[in-house]
C-alpha cells in the first residue's frame, strides 16, 4: 500500500502543472472560444509534445502509461488549470480504438502525436445516461454498413478528424447486445453537424447521420459486441472526469481561501469569521473525500466488472455531489464577485458543474450503485 506517486508520475505532474500555468491561461481559452475551436491548437500541440496524450495509453498501445493513476495525474492537473481540451474524448474514443486491437494502431499513433483529433459519438437525443440505449442503426449492404440516426452533444465533434460511432446492428432499443462501433472520418458524406459552444468553455455538436456508408474495415471489435468495451471505456472516462473535477475543486478552494484571507469586511478579513471558517473546513473535508474516491476508482479499473463498476458509480456519485457543494459554497463565500464571468471562479464553476452532466450524474449513479447490488 502506497499513496505516493511514482517518480515518473511525479515528473509528469510537476511538468504539466508548470506548463499549464502559462499555456492554459484565460487568454488562450478566450482565443479558442473566439475561433470556435475545440481546443487552443498551441496548447494541444504542447500537451502532445510533453507526452501527455501518450500517458493515457499503455506501451503496447503506443503510449507509456495507461493506468488509472496516469489518468488521475493528467486530469487533475487539467482541472486545476481549468484547461479546456478534448482529452476526455481521447480517453473514450481512443480507448475504444486501442481495445479494438492492432488494426487501428496507425490512427492511434497519430492521435497520440496530437495530429489527429477524435470524437466519441455514442449518446443520443433520447439516451440520457443509458449506455445501451442506441437507436442509431447500421445495416449491412454488401461489404459496407449503412448507418442512420442521430447523436447528441458530441464533444469536439465538428472539429474532429475521426469519430468513434456506435450504432445498433441487432436487438431492441435498450439491449446490451447488438451494439457495434465504427471508426469513420468526421467529414464523411452522410454526416451533418450542428456545432455550438458548451457552458464548460468547449464545443459540441448535434449529429444527423443519414445514409453514412462505413466499410467493414471501420468496424471496431466484433459486430454487435461493443457493449462491454463501451462500458470499460466509460469507466476509464469516469476516472478521468472525476480526477479533472478534483483538480477544479482544488482550484476553486484555493481561490476561495485566498479571497477569504484578503477580502475585508467590517474591519477584518472575512476568513476570520467563524461561520465561514467552518464552512471552508467542511469544503476541504469533502474535497479529501473526492480525492479518495478518485483513488478508489483509479486503483480498481483492472478488477472484475462488478467491482469496477461499483467503484465507477460510487466515485461519480460522490464527486458529483461534492462538486455541487464546492461550487455553490465557493460562489456564495465570494459574494457578488463570484457571480461575474470575468473572475476566474466563473470558469471553474461552469466546468465543475458540467462534469455532472457527462457519463451519468450523481442521482443516476446513486441508483446504479444500488442496482449493481452494492447495497444488499
Amino acid at each position: 500500500m502506497n499513496f505516493d506517486l511514482t517518480e515518473e508520475r511525479q515528473m509528469l505532474q510537476d511538468g504539466l502543472r508548470r506548463y499549464l500555468v502559462q499555456a492554459a491561461n484565460p487568454q488562450s481559452r478566450a482565443a479558442a472560444v473566439e475561433a470556435e475551436a475545440a481546443v487552443d491548437p498551441e496548447l494541444w500541440g504542447g500537451l502532445a509534445e510533453m507526452g501527455v496524450i501518450g500517458a493515457l495509453f499503455t506501451e503496447e498501445q503506443g503510449g507509456f502509461g495507461g493506468a488509472g493513476f496516469d489518468l488521475a495525474v493528467v486530469f487533475e492537473e487539467l482541472g486545476r488549470a481549468g484547461a479546456v481540451t478534448p482529452l476526455l474524448e481521447v480517453v473514450l474514443a481512443g480507448g475504444l480504438l486501442a481495445q479494438a486491437g492492432d488494426a487501428h494502431a496507425d490512427l492511434l499513433g497519430e492521435v497520440i502525436a496530437g495530429t489527429r483529433a477524435l470524437a466519441y459519438a455514442h449518446g443520443e437525443p433520447a439516451s440520457r445516461y443509458d449506455l445501451s440505449r442506441v437507436e442509431t442503426t447500421a445495416r449491412r449492404e454488401g461489404d459496407d454498413y449503412v448507418i442512420d440516426g442521430r447523436k447528441a452533444v458530441v464533444v469536439g465533434g465538428a472539429q474532429a478528424d475521426m469519430l468513434v460511432l456506435s450504432a445498433r446492428t441487432s436487438g431492441e432499443r435498450d439491449d446490451a447486445g447488438g451494439i457495434s462501433l465504427f471508426a469513420v472520418p468526421a467529414d464523411s458524406a452522410g454526416l451533418q453537424w450542428r456545432d455550438y459552444p458548451l457552458a464548460d468553455g468547449g464545443r459540441a455538436a448535434e449529429l444527423v447521420i443519414d445514409g453514412l456508408r462505413a466499410g467493414s474495415g471501420s468496424l471496431l471489435g466484433a459486430e454487435g459486441g461493443a457493449h462491454d468495451a463501451i462500458e470499460y471505456a466509460q469507466a476509464r472516462g469516469t476516472a478521468a472526469l472525476c480526477a479533472e473535477a478534483l483538480g477544479l475543486m482544488e482550484a476553486a478552494r484555493a481561490l476561495t481561501a485566498d479571497y477569504l484571507r484578503t477580502r475585508k469586511q467590517f474591519g477584518q478579513p472575512i476568513g476570520k469569521f467563524q461561520a465561514l471558517q467552518h464552512r471552508m473546513a467542511d469544503m476541504l473535508i469533502e474535497i479529501e473525500q473526492a480525492r479518495s474516491a478518485v483513488i478508489n476508482l483509479c486503483g480498481r479499473l483492472q478488477l472484475s466488472r462488478r467491482e469496477r463498476e461499483i467503484n465507477v458509480s460510487a466515485t461519480k456519485q460522490l464527486v458529483g455531489r461534492v462538486a455541487r457543494h464546492v461550487t455553490e459554497e465557493a460562489i456564495q463565500m465570494h459574494g457578488g464577485i463570484g457571480m461575474t464571468e470575468e473572475y476566474e471562479l466563473a470558469h471553474l464553476a461552469r466546468r465543475l458543474t458540467m462534469t455532472d452532466h457527462r457519463l451519468g450524474d450523481s442521482t443516476y449513479h446513486l441508483g446504479r450503485f444500488v442496482a449493481l447490488g452494492a447495497v444488499a
Binding site: 443509458d130 458548451l198 457552458a199 455541487r324 460562489i331 458543474t353 452532466h357
Partner: protein
C-alpha cells in the same frame, strides 16, 4: 385559524385570472415560460397593460395612482401573475423609489416623478452598492458636493440591475464625512444621460450582462433632485429596503419553477421510463415540494400579519433564506433533469427574437443559465449570511 381566503379575496382572484386570460399577451408568457430573455420593450408593454387597468402599482395608495392593495391582495396578484407566466414588474421605480418619494419626497417631486414611473416615461435603476462594500451599504464612497444649484457627483456604483435600460438612477451619495458612516448619506435622483456617467456591463456566470457598473465623473445634479434632507438619506434607504418585502420568499417563482421541473421530468426518459418515475429523482422533487408547501404557509402567515398592520421583522430574513434555498434547489434539479442537454451554452438563443435553431428540447436550454443566474438569490438583497446573523441577534437574542 383559517386557511381559506375571504369571498372578496376569491372574487379578486377570479377577476385577476379573467384579466390575465384576456390581456396577457401569449407572446410574453411564452417567453417567460421558456426562460427567454425579455427585452426592455417586453417589460414596457406589460407595464402599460397593467397601468391601463390601474394595477401596475399594487402597493401605492390610490391617491398616487396605485391600486392600494393590502398584503393579501398583493400576494394574490403575485400568485396569479407568476402562475400565468406574466413578466415580473421591474421593481426599481414601482416597488422601491415610489414609496420613498411618497413618504419623504416633496410635493413637486411626487407630482413630477410618480406619474412618469407609472406611464413608463422613466426607467429607474438603483445606485446603492459600491465596489468592495458587500453587504455594508453604509460605507458609501461616492461623493456629492454642493456647488451652487447643483451637486457634483463622483464615484462608482455597481451591481446595477438592468442599468443599461435606465433613464434615471436613485443613488446613495456621501454629502458629509462627519459623524458615523450612516450620518452623511444623502438620497439623490440622477439623470442617466447626464455628461460624466458611464455604464459598463458586468457579464455574470450565466453569460448575461444583467448588471452593470455605473461611473460618475463630475456629474452635475440639480439640487431639486435631493430627496428629503441632506445627510438623512440613510433613513430613506432603510425605509426602501424594508418597505416592500412581502414577496421576498418568491413563492410564485418557486411554484412556477416546480411546475416547469415536473413538466421536464415527465418528458425526460431515464432507464426506459419517465424521469419523474425514477424513485430517487421523484423523492428529490418531493422533498423540495414539501419544503415549498410549508414555506408558502410561512409566507402567508407573514402576509396575513402584514395585512393586519404588523410590520414584518426578522420573519423576512427567515423567508429570504428559506425562499432562496428552495428556489436554488429547484433550479439545480431542473438543470439535473435536462441531462446532457444542460451542457450547451448557446445563451444567444435565449435572446428575444433569436432565430438560431435550439439544441435539444426547447425546455433544456435555459436550465443551466437559470441555475447559474439564481446563485445570486442568496447573495444579493442582504446575503443569506447577513440574514442568519439578523435572525440570531433579533429573534434569538444571541
Amino acid at each position: 385559524m383559517n386557511l381559506d381566503f375571504t369571498p372578496e379575496q376569491e372574487a379578486f382572484r377570479a377577476e385577476l385570472r379573467a384579466f390575465l386570460e384576456q390581456n396577457l399577451p401569449e407572446r410574453l408568457s411564452d417567453k417567460v415560460r421558456s426562460g427567454q430573455r425579455l427585452a426592455k420593450e417586453d417589460y414596457e408593454e406589460w407595464h402599460a397593460i397593467l397601468n391601463g387597468r390601474g394595477w401596475l402599482a399594487g402597493n401605492w395608495p390610490k391617491g398616487h395612482g396605485g391600486a392600494g392593495w393590502d398584503a393579501v391582495e398583493r400576494h394574490i396578484f403575485e400568485e396569479e401573475t407568476t402562475a400565468a407566466g406574466a413578466p415580473r414588474i421591474v421593481p426599481f421605480g414601482l416597488a422601491m423609489l415610489g414609496p420613498v418619494l411618497q413618504k419623504f419626497g416633496s410635493k413637486e417631486q411626487q407630482e413630477h416623478w410618480l406619474p412618469r414611473i407609472l406611464d413608463g416615461t422613466d426607467w429607474w435603476c438603483q445606485g446603492y452598492s459600491e465596489p468592495g462594500a458587500g453587504s455594508d451599504l453604509a460605507s458609501v464612497k461616492t461623493t456629492a458636493v454642493r456647488e451652487g444649484d447643483h451637486y457634483i457627483v463622483n464615484g462608482q456604483k455597481t451591481w446595477t440591475t438592468l442599468g443599461q435600460y435606465a433613464d434615471m438612477i436613485f443613488c446613495l451619495v456621501r454629502t458629509s464625512k462627519e459623524g458615523k458612516p450612516q450620518e452623511g448619506i444623502s438620497f439623490l435622483l440622477i439623470d442617466m444621460t447626464s455628461p460624466g456617467i458611464e455604464v459598463r456591463p458586468i457579464v455574470l456566470l450565466d453569460g448575461e450582462p444583467e448588471v452593470n457598473e455605473v461611473f460618475f465623473d463630475n456629474v452635475k445634479v440639480p439640487v431639486e433632485n435631493l430627496v428629503g434632507e441632506e445627510n438623512k438619506g440613510w433613513t430613506y434607504a432603510k425605509y426602501l429596503l424594508t418597505h416592500e418585502r412581502t414577496n421576498i420568499a418568491g413563492v410564485g417563482f418557486a411554484n412556477a419553477g416546480l411546475e416547469n421541473l415536473k413538466r421536464i421530468a415527465r418528458l425526460e426518459q431515464s432507464r426506459g421510463r419517465p424521469l419523474i418515475e425514477d424513485p430517487l429523482f421523484a423523492a428529490r422533487i418531493a422533498e423540495v415540494e414539501i419544503a415549498l408547501m410549508a414555506m408558502a404557509t410561512t409566507n402567508l402567515r407573514v402576509v396575513s400579519a402584514a395585512a393586519a398592520g404588523q410590520a414584518p421583522g426578522a420573519e423576512s430574513s427567515m423567508l429570504k433564506v428559506k425562499g432562496t434555498v428552495i428556489r436554488q434547489e429547484i433550479n439545480a434539479l431542473t438543470r439535473e433533469a435536462v441531462g446532457p442537454y444542460a451542457m450547451p451554452f448557446a445563451h444567444e438563443t435565449l435572446e428575444a427574437g433569436s432565430n438560431a435553431e435550439p439544441v435539444g428540447p426547447d425546455y433544456a436550454l435555459p436550465a443551466t443559465a437559470q441555475y447559474f443566474n439564481n446563485r445570486k438569490l442568496s447573495i444579493y438583497g442582504g446575503s443569506n449570511e447577513v440574514q442568519r446573523t439578523i435572525i440570531a441577534k433579533t429573534i434569538l437574542e444571541l
